[in-house]
Each structure stands twice: as C-alpha cells, then as structure tokens.
Amino acid sequence: MPAFDADHTTVSTWPLLWETLRAQRRNLLIGTMIGLAWSVGKVASPVLIRFGIDRGIRDDEMLWLWAGLIAFAGLFAGFFTAFRRFYAFREARWTETRLRERLFGHIMSLHIGYHDRAQTGQLMSRSSSDLNQIQMFVVMIPITLSNLAMISAVTVILLITDWQLALLAFASLPLIQVLGSRFSRAIHPAVLAVQAEQAELATVVEESVGGVRVIKGFGAERVQAEKLRTEADDIRRESIKAARIRAKYLPAMELLPQVGLIAVLWFGGNQVINGDLSLGALVQFNVYVALLVWPLRMIGMTIAFAQRAAAALGRVNEVLDIASQVRNPDHPVDLPTTGGAEPAAGFGDIAFRGVTFTYPTMASETETGGPVLDGFDLDMGAGQSVAVVGATGSGKSTVVRLLVRFYDVDAGSISIDGVDIRELSLHDLRRAVGIVFEDTLLFHDTVRANIAFADPAAGAERVEQAARLAGAHDFIMGLPDAYDTMLGERGFSLSGGQRQRIAIARAILADPRILVLDDATSAVDPSKEHEIRDAMATVMAGRTTIVIAHRPGTVALADTVVLLDHGRVIAWGRHDELLATEPRYRDVLAAMEQSDDEERRDLSDDVEATIGGD
C-alpha cells in the first residue's frame, strides 16, 4: 500500500506522472512488447495476402500454404491485440487507483483551514473526472508506442516495395492526423459549451424543485416552464453546433484514406499493366493503407488526450502540492501518564495563555477581519468543567478548534498537562481530546462502527457500555438490526437527539482525558433534551470538560462559566453568581432563549417533512 505523507509536496505536473508510471514501468513495458508482437502479426498479413494472390492464385503455387499462413497471422495478431489491450487498460486503471488513494490520504491529512475554503464538489471532481482523464492518457501509452512501431515498419516495407507508390499512398495520411488534432481542438470547447448549458438547465430545475412551494403558492409554473424551454433550446442549439463540427471532420477523417487508395489504384494499376508491379503488391498497398488509418487517427487522439491529461494532472497536483499548515512536530513529546491501568487518571489540565487568533479571510464570512480571539486566557484543572458562553461571533467555538489544532494560534500558547500542544504528535493530541460536534456527522456504516469510530477494534462490550452511558443503548436496541443497523445518508435516519447520543457515545468510547461538548443539545426535541443532559452529566463526571453552550440548560451542567466577548474573557464565575452580578451575562442568556425558540420552530418543520417524506 502506498504511503500517505501529509508533508509530501513540490511535485510538479509531469514528474508526478513520471513518478507514478515508474512504479508500473515493468507492466507498461510488457504491454508495449506485446504490442510489438501484435504489430508483427498485423504487418505480416498484407505481405502474406500479396504472396497469396501473386504466388498462390496467379501462379497457382502453394495456395493453401499462403492461405494457412494468413489465417495463422490473424490468430497471432488477435492473440496479442487482446493482451495489449488488457495490459494497457489494466495499467491505466492502476495508475488511476493509486493516484486516487494518494489524493484521498492527502485530503484527509490537510488542515481544516483548507477544508473551510475547499468545495467538496471540486475535490470530488479532482478524484474522479480528472483522474479519469489521466487514465485515458495512460491507456494510450503502450498502444501508441506499438502503433508507432507498426507505422514505421509499414512505411519501410512500402518504401522498399515501391517508393514512388508509397509516397503517393501516404500523401493523404498526415492530413488525417492534422484533421484529428484540429478536430479535438474544435470539439473540446463545443462540448464544454454544451455542458455549460446543461448546468444552466440544472439550475432552473434545482430552483424549481427547491422553490416548489413558492411556485405552487402563486401558480407560477408557466414562468419556470418558459425558463426551462429557453435552456432546453440552448442545449439543443449548442449540441447541434457540436454536431456540425463532428459532421465537418469525422467523415473527412474516415474517407481521406480512400484518396490514397484511389491514387494507388491509378498509378499502381498502370504499373501493373506495364509489368512493373504485381497485382498482389497493389492489393498489399491497399491493405496497408487501410491498416494505417486507425493507428494514425489514434496518434491524433493521444495528443488530445495528453493535453487534457496534462490539465487534469495540473489540477490534481494543485491539491497534492498543498502542505498541511498544521504539522506534526519533528520530535513529539509524550503526555504525562500514571503508567497504571488508567494512564490518564488525574490528568487533564488545560491552559490557554494570551491566545490570539484571526481566521484567514474567507469569502463566506463577511463580518470577520479582526481577531476572533484576542488575548484569551483560561486555566482549567483536571476534572473541572467550564461552560464557555458568548454571543454569536464571540469566538467560543474557536476555542475548541484551537485546542485540537484544527488551526494554530497566531500568538500565545495552549498547553495540556504542561505540554504545549504543538509539541505533541497530532495523533496523541487528538486522542487526548474528545469532541462532540454541534452538527453530528454519522458515517454510512453500522451503529457499532459509528460509536467505535475512535477505536475500530473495540469489542461489542465496550461499544455497548459507551452507548449505555450516553443513554443510547435503549433506542439502539429498538432499531431494525440493533447495533448492526446501517446509518448515514443512505441508511436508517435517526432523530436529532438520537444522533447526538451516538456522538456522545463515540466520545465516551474514545475515553479522552479532555472532553468538549459543542452545543450538544441543539436540534433536539425539547421533550428529549433532559435525556441528553443526563447523558452529558454522566460523561462529564471526573473528566475535564469544556462545554460550548448555546442554551441556558447546558450552561448549568458546568462548574464554572466563562463569558466571552470579542475574543476576550470578560467575566468568570458560577452561573448564579454571574446571573446576579453581570448584566451582560443576562443579555447573552436572553438572546440564547430567543434563538432557541427559532431552532425549535425549524425543528417542527423537519418533523413534518420527515413524516411527509416517508
């Protein structure tokens, strides 16, 4: 299996391909050798046909020997053409396969700041359609090499047989190649234009489906229907334009060799009449010219494919070239442990010291620009729990993102149990901190695998224990296949609260020394909220916990509260103390109340949509 190295960088376009192909050079070489064998069979058959006609038929000598040899050459060429094809296509797929794995591993290792800006669709097309273009080019490598061998051999043979006739026959062939590359150049933008129109039609369809309530509400079907007709007409117009380009080039490319055949018939025929050339040689010329048509056309294709592959490689390389900005230290330090059965017991101090952080500018976030955290300080002893409270944009979620090094601080430092987190290996750091994210992501896998995400080797007992602690065991047992039920987009769909509990179980199983709950109760049916809270309280017991709270109920879970405003701690204390003494704290809580209502309203819609959808 190829190695995945986050720091792998500075591969420019062609060296990347070269490096990839080098690993496959043996099979590519075999493919080319087989191709050469094939070309021997291919080249031999017209010569044999010539002897068959001249010696076998006209002179009536050893007719059946020649016929037999032709048949044999056929079987020979057929056998090797099959193998050439097999090797070429298999190696191309292998190149694609390995590049995709490398790309995936790289994408997984890239810093989150990159993912904030990257579009999923873009990355997807890097790993699918771009790699496919590269694959199409790799297929052509052994095929083109052996085609070139064949073309040279045929050229030599014809030149030896009759150089004048040969030049005549070949006169039209370079034209095919010229036409071929012109065609590729002309058709490519036309195809792109069709695709662009298709995308516009897709937009109309998307908004019509997405805005169906508006359309139905106002009876505006006709307006959208008009838009669609316009787009459908555009697609048709562009497609027919592309068809005109095909009409112009393809028949010409198909019929040009005939021009060579005509020339051969005229001049060669006259030579036969004069006795300078045998009839068999004439036929041989014809067959050879026909034989060269495809290989020549394919060289044109290869050039076009190579251009497209180069562009695709460039795009793939752009991704591979990005080095993760969050890097593993060269000499990682270990976190202190007790060395006993519970190595992390009693540990879990956290210290934020003068942490300042500004998000790199992003198109989507217009209000940022200044630092999100500005001299943020926070000290937590092992086993303590703190609720971070603040208005939207106060920076509270950023605290967590910095703690697990999704981003690195601009100034200041963060340390766990006295070790600066930048000195820990990323793996150790992230295993030491367990996060329950705000939006619970479930993978398309079983309940068991989703809970055992941090430790896929965890046994059924540990999974079940984690689920029990998270208050998830009971509803899991009620699922169609209990712990083996498939979840995710194409699997069984759980309610918001159930998803949250799976996420909590996931964090429990990871058994981190520090737990982070990022508003783990949003999007939960109010009647179920207390169950989640109970689960959270169970998990928090005896573990250092940071709660990023967006609603009053969650705040109460923590020992102390930190009030954040514009990236700084402006108040700190127990919930009731702050409520009594700090007006700004009351304001923030009131705002939470308000948005809480709205979230519930959104939720009520979800519920109805779910009912309607099934």
Binding site: G52, A67, L201, G211, P251
Partner: protein, 592 residues
C-alpha cells in the same frame, strides 16, 4: 452539486422491459420522423459509398489491369473519386440530420418531463427527494445524449454496412461468400456472450463507482470528525478497500472485453486467409476472377468492425433504456391535485369542516376531525407543540394538499371545485424563508403574477414599504439577486416574498411565521411589512411567538392532530388548559 452514479435496482432492466421502453420512445420520436427518414437516406448513401469502393477496385482490376486497358482503369478511378466525394457529402448530412432529430427528441423529453413534474402536487415533491428529481432532468436525460450523438448513427450505419456487404458479396460470388462467412457462427455466439458479460460487468463497475464516490464524499464531508478522532489512517484504509474493489471490477470488465476483441480481430484476418485459399481454388476452376477475390479481401476488412460496434452499443442502449424507464415512471404519475371549474368569490369565510389528513404511504393520520370556521378578515393563530399538525392545517387551507377526510371551502365552494387560478388569487401562502429564483428583484416579485406591469410591481413593493429600500440599490428593482438570492440579506429576501403576496392581493393570507435569524434592523422592517400586508385580509398564522399570538383575534391549539382549544387569548387563559400552560411557560422564559 455532485451527481452520484450509484446504481439502483431499476438500472437493471430485463430484455422485455427494454423492448417496451424502446417501443415507447420510438412512439415519442414520431414528430421527427421526416428528419429521421432523411438521416436514414444519408446513412444509406454514405454506406453504399463505402462499399462501392471495393467493387470499383474489382472492376478496375478485372476489366482494366487484367485486360491491359488503361481507359477502363481511368474510368474506374474517376468513378471512385465521384463515389468518395458523394459519400463525404452524405456522411456530413447524416451527422447533422441524426443530431437534429436526436436533440429535438431530447429537448421534447426535457420540456415534457419538466412540465409534468410541475403539474404535480406538493405530495409528489415530498415523496421524491429533490436530488432524484434533479437527476431525472439532468443526468438521466444527458445519459441518452451519447446514444443520440453516436449510438444511433453507429447502429444504423453498422446494420446497413453488414446488410449491404452481404448482398454485395452474394452478388459477386455465393461460393466465396459462404467460404468467407464460415467464421460467422463463432462471431455471433461470441458476440452474444460478450454482450451479456460486458453488460453485467458494466453495471458492476457503475455500482462500484457510485459507492466509491459516496465514500469519497463522506470522507471529505467528515474530515473534521476524522481528524478530531485521529482516524485519518483508518479512514484511508477503508477508502483504499473500496477503491481496490472498484479497481477489481474495472479489471474484470477489461478481461471480459479482452478476449472478445482479440477474437474478432483474429477471425477477421483468418477469414481473409479462407477467402484467398478458397478464392484461389475457385479462380483455378474458373468460377471467379482475381478481382472478385481482391474485392472480397477488401470487403472483409470492413465487415468486422461494425459487428464489434454493434455488440458494444448494447450497453449504451440498455443504460439509455433504463434512464428512459425512470423518466416514464414520472410521466406516468397523474397529478393528484387538479383544478375544478368554479370561480371563488372575492371575499368570503374560510371553513374547515371535519378535516382529517394522512400523508400518503403512512397509516397514522396527522390530523383528525378538525373544524374551524374563519370569518372574512379574521386573524387566526395556529399554536401547538412540534409535529402536532399546525403547519399541515395551514397547508390544507391553501390546498397545497387535499384533505383525506372532510372539506375546506371558501364562500361555500369546496376548494377542490375551484379553478387553480382563482384559488391562487384568493389564498396566498408566504413560506418561512424568502426563496429567490435567478433573475432580478422585479423578476422575483413577478413570479406571483407573470402579467404584472412595472408600475404594479412598484405598487406592490410600496404597499409593504419596501420600495425605497430596493430603489436605493444601484440597479433598483432590476438588481440581479445572484444565486439563491445571495446578493440580498435574509430580511430583504423576506420582503421580496411578501411583495409577491402583495402583488396578488389575496383575500386570505397563510403565514408560516417568518422572522427567523434576521438582524434586528431588518426584522423591524419585515414586521412592519407583514403588518401592512395583513390589513384587511383573513390571516392564518402558524405562530411560534407570544407577540404574534397576542395580536390574533382567535387562537387554535392543535395537539396530536386534534383541535384541542379554540378561542381568544383571554378565553383560553380562562379555561386554564394547554394554551394557558403554554402562555405561562412563555412568559416565564422571557428574560425579566
């Protein structure tokens, strides 16, 4: 949006189903029969041109070269040039005509499917995920483009070429034809096997590609969780496993085609050997001329490629048939909400009478026996816990769905008997969020009434107090809203949505309370716009806020699909039931 290539069971059509789908498609292609006929004529001409070549060569050899007759040879050459030129012209036209017919067919299919989707009720849109509908209109139709651009042409040309070659060969020499075609049974058997195997392999590859893309997407979407739990290696390992199984299916499909292509190529040359052997023997007996043997050799070189093409085409045809079949499923769905013939009066009471509702394909009713009569001009708030059915009541009142029991009537006319046109003029739903379409602000308001003049648009915007705000934009109300309205703030989008309602000037307004996540500045403007809009109209509000409820004339509490309480705020507080409890909980949660 990225399109998933995942294969579902309906991608695998059996032969009979494929045939039925194709028959129906041919029926749909009737309007293009002239273009298709012209295309076929051109295909026939260009194929003939291709085949005449060897015949002319034979004539040149037998009558020219063998007779040492230079004039005949020259005539043959001239004839050849003419044939090639004609074949070129015909070939150009065949592309153009086939594409004209094919693209015309696809356009008609797009328009027809879209119109049909638009005629469907909301229930239909609940049943189909939006992604599915979008891919029907895009990926499924586009997958047929390949067939239209290449496939049909190749198919027709291949059939013509094979048929005409056979006729030509038979007319030249039946003995040689038999000799040359001795290998045909092998080719036919091999082609059939290849067709079957390659189709299975192709579907397998498509399915694995779909799975692989899902894994990829999941990995990218979940990268934060993956990194937070330090599972990059494990995730990559899983991806590699799926990627390798995709590779294996590719290799399998390559293997399937490998032996077939080799065999066809081998047999092509093999049969040339046969033609020369047997042909030479026949020449020796004086049955055929040398020219005939040469013509055979040249014809055979052209015969095997179309056979190969035909068997490869099968996959394209089959997957197009599968796409068509999915489209036909949609086209066969009759819209379940259709207009009646009666015109609704300008103003009247809206009466909900014994209404029950069950979503299709579920058993549990969402609403049972709800009766409310809303007087003209009354303001009614619908209140209740999550999922109790209050939004459903609102949707039924606008006939976005039809009740499964009972009736809803306006001025004594059952909504089901009213024309859809007059219904949409009397009852307007303002959704929670202002959904915007591509185009300008004016275009977006005009969605509500396509024939509205610019003055009417401005009046509508002015009526809700939003005109000044939009006039302040550089292009005024002609400002492009960009994708999904990203040029406008959430509040401004909401204003557009309200202006639409104002443009229609309905008697009844159904609101799904619409103030979520607005910045304080616009929130006030939106609320004022809403207040203006509600003046003098019957209003039904799905309410979530105490302030809205307090402004209502009456409150209907919906709980577990039943009308639990109905009355004014004071009356309901008096009763001391669910509403009273709700109101006091609300009051307490407000910051003091």
């Amino acid at each position: 949006m990225f399109r998933m290539g995942a294969v579902t069971d309906d991608d695998k059509l059996d032969k009979e189903a494929t045939r039925q789908v194709l028959r129906r498609a041919i029926g749909m292609a009737k309007p293009f029969r002239r273009t298709i006929f012209a295309a076929l004529c051109f295909v026939l001409m260009s194929t003939l041109g291709l085949l005449l070549g060897p015949v002319i060569v034979r004539y040149g050899i037998d009558s020219g070269i063998d007779m040492k007759d230079t004039t005949t040879l020259r005539n043959a050459v001239i004839a050849y040039i003419v044939v090639v030129a004609l074949a070129y012209l015909a070939a150009r036209q065949q592309y153009i005509f086939i594409n004209r017919a094919g693209e015309g067919f696809l356009r008609a299919l797009r328009v027809r499917t879209f119109d049909h989707i638009q005629r469907q009720s909301l229930g239909f849109f609940d049943r189909y995920q939006s992604g599915v509908l979008i891919s029907r209109m895009t990926a499924d139709i586009e997958s047929m483009a390949e067939l239209v651009q290449w496939g049909l042409l190749q198919f027709v040309a291949a059939v013509f070429l094979i048929g005409l070659s056979l006729i030509l060969m038979l007319s030249l020499s039946w003995q040689l034809t038999i000799a040359a075609l001795l290998v045909m049974p092998v080719i036919i058997i091999a082609s059939r096997k290849f067709q079957r195997d390659s189709n299975a392999a192709y579907l397998e590859v498509r399915e694995r590609v779909g799975q692989n893309l899902s894994e990829l997407q999941e990995g990218i979407a979940g990268v934060r969780v993956v990194q937070a739990y330090a599972q990059e290696k494990e995730q990559t390992r899983q991806f590699v496993a799926s990627n390798r199984s995709l590779y294996q299916s590719h290799v399998h499909s390559i293997r399937v085609s490998t032996w077939y292509f080799g065999l066809v190529e081998a047999l092509g040359i093999f049969s040339t050997g046969l033609a020369i052997g047997i042909g030479g023997w026949l020449v020796g007996r004086g049955d055929v001329t040398v020219g005939t043997v040469v013509a055979f050799v040249l014809l055979l070189a052209q015969l095997f490629e179309p056979v190969q093409q035909l068997s490869q085409l099968y996959n394209t045809v089959q997957s197009s048939a599968a796409s068509l079949d999915k489209l036909f499923t949609i086209l066969d769905t009759e819209p379940d909400i259709q207009g009646g013939s009666e015109e609704l009066p300008e103003r009247a009471d809206l009466i909900v009478d014994g209404v029950g509702f069950t979503y299709p394909s579920t058993d549990t009713p969402v609403l049972r026996d709800v009766t409310i009569s809303v007087a003209d001009g009354e303001r009614l708030a619908l209140v209740g816990p999550t999922g109790a059915g209050k939004s459903t009541v609102a949707k039924l009142m606008a006939r976005l769905y039809d009740p499964t029991e009972g009736t809803i009537s306006f001025g004594g006319i059952d909504l089901r008997d009213a024309t859809l046109g007059s219904l949409r003029e009397r009852v307007v739903v303002v959704p929670q969020e202002g959904f915007l379409f591509g185009g300008s602000i004016a275009d977006n308001v005009r969605i509500a009434r396509a024939d509205a003049t610019d003055d009417e648009l401005r009046e509508a915007l002015d009526a809700i107090g939003a005109l000044d705000r939009f006039d302040a934009f550089e292009d005024g109300i002609d400002t492009e809203v960009r994708e999904r309205g990203s040029r406008l703030s959430a509040g401004e989008r909401q204003l557009v949505s309200l202006a639409r309602a104002a443009l229609v000037d309905p008697a009844v307004l159904v609101l799904d309370e619409a103030t979520s996540s607005l910045d304080p500045g616009t929130e006030v403007i939106v609320e004022q716009a809403l207040d203006r809009l509600m003046i003098g109209r019957t209003t039904i509000v799905v309410a979530h806020r105490l302030s809205t409820i307090q402004h209502a004339d009456r409150i209907a509490v919906i709980d577990a699909g039943l009308l639990a309480e109905l009355g004014t705020h004071d009356e309901l507080v008096e009763i001391g039931g669910r509403y009273a409890a709700l109101a006091s909980a609300w009051a307490q949660s407000l910051p003091s």
